[in-house]
């Protein structure tokens, strides 16, 4: 078993609920991500986030990204655990939006300039272009990029200006096997780049996502004592899984392990409930 220990929290969801015109969508969500440490390496955090369509995953994402204020509760981010503001959390939306009127290079530069002085921004842009294999396409406009290139560009753009926390909404949808491999590599790279880097993955591809995670959240409905569904989705304590504890995190080829397959089946059953 890999040795690991936990330090301070990097992301906290505190009593979050969301109501739209009297309709309860999210109810009292409490969850926390701690900075996980492994000896002799930079180990960031990967959180998988599942839930049936229409339950409110996108709403929770927007709340996590600070784009929308919850009806109650708050989101705390970073080592300082400050309330989230827009821009503090990188958010790669489903269709990987970029600025269509800017070239790929300028898309990254405009993001880098949010955080760095001009010279440094230029340098960071080059580094990210290189790291995400985009240098050859730097002069192209987003409309001329392939889906995979757009996605890499969108991830790079968010990384350039956010502090450690990044949300990926459906990063594997519509990708072929080779591309999924590429995205997995990028996510691994991001999480090993910095100790504090934390990636939250919202996905329907449970096996792929679980293989990358050290923590899982399952959004679902609770039943009251009479067996009636309580309105508003939430993440109950037993729907928060610690994969490091279960010995399923950070394995090279975890998808081949029977233990892992059983766990994925269990998760799928839980989602179907």
């Amino acid at each position: 078993m890999t040795p690991y220990f936990y330090k301070a929290p990097v992301l906290t969801l505190e009593g979050i609920s969301m109501t739209f015109e009297g309709e309860v969508i999210l109810r009292d969500i409490n969850a926390q991500v701690l900075d996980v440490c492994r000896p002799d390496m930079n180990q960031g955090q990967v959180v998988g986030f599942y839930g049936r369509s229409g339950m409110g995953k996108s709403v929770l994402c927007r709340i996590l990204a600070g784009l929308m204020a919850p009806t109650t509760g708050r989101v705390l981010v970073g080592e300082q655990q400050e309330p989230v503001t827009p821009g503090a959390v990188g958010f790669v939306q489903q269709r990987y939006p970029l600025f269509n009127h800017r070239t790929l290079h300028d898309n990254l530069l405009v993001a880098a300039s949010r955080k760095y002085a001009p010279e440094e921004a230029q340098q960071q842009t080059e580094t990210y272009l290189e790291r995400f294999q985009l240098t050859a396409h730097r002069k192209k406009y987003p409309a001329h990029l392939s889906g995979g290139q757009r996605q890499r560009a969108a991830i790079a753009q968010q990384l350039l200006c956010s502090d450690h926390l990044i949300l990926l909404d459906e990063p594997f949808s519509g990708l072929d096997v080779a591309m999924i491999g590429e995205v997995k590599k990028i996510i691994l790279e991001v999480t090993t780049m910095d100790e504090l880097n934390t990636v939250v993955i919202v996905s329907h591809d449970i096996a792929t996502t679980t293989a990358l995670c050290d923590r899982l959240w399952l959004l679902g409905y609770e039943r009251d004592t009479n067996g009636q569904l309580i309105p508003g989705a939430t993440i109950t304590a037993d729907h928060q899984y610690n994969l490091a504890e279960m010995g399923l995190a950070w394995h090279e080829n975890v998808e081949a392990e029977p233990e892992f397959a059983r766990f994925v089946e269990h998760i799928k059953d839980e989602i179907r409930m």
Binding site: F99, R114, Y141
Partner: protein
Amino acid sequence: MKELFSPNARPRRVVFTTMVAAQIMLLLLLWAFYPMQMLPSLGAVLRALSELTTSQGLIPELWASMTTALQSLAVATGLALLISYLTALPFFRPIAYAASKMRYLTLTGLTFFMAILLSSGHEVKLTVLIFATTVYLVTGMTSVILTTTQEEMDHARTLGMSEWRSFWEVVVLGKLDDMLEVVRQNFAIIWTMITLVETLYQSEGGIGLLLYKQNRYLHLDGVVAIQLVILATGALQDYLFGLLRRVFFPYSELTTAR
């Protein structure tokens, strides 16, 4: 040949150009050899054209109208952009709404009002044109702004841009090419109006006045000749706008289906 009649086909450039040339030739031949009752013959129109050019100053008149049109268009574009961008602030939304509804005002009534307010004919002419163009442009421009999606705005916000900066990046910079397209489409409206306004304020001439005179003396060949000149000018303008768009917004062609 077959591909010329199959939907969404993309014939080769040569084939397509040849086809267009053939269609124009056919039209001209029909016109030249089977003169229709109501339309003057091709020869008569060409004669009228050269007569208009040499003795009635068609070119300078055209130029005069064109500069007036461009002048009003420039001012109207500035005004319309301002009004539409200001819709970001709820306070200014009623203005854009009202401006857009003013499309329904009639030109003649408007001219009357302006004539009372302003002293010189030139001013009335310009003001009427600017006003009428602005209201059409505002309508088109606000609908462009309304195409902004939550996703686009969220994208800018997640990069830590302030509300104003997000608006600038997504709505102003991101949609300039669509705005140019709105201006191009509405330029034609100026031409319809300018011919009318010029007949109301005859002191300054213009191609509208020329057209009006030809009409009055029932010079049908002259009327057709001037209409053709206006048509050609319009086509040229459209082309120039397309060129501008390609030069300044190279990305905008990329997303449209070809």
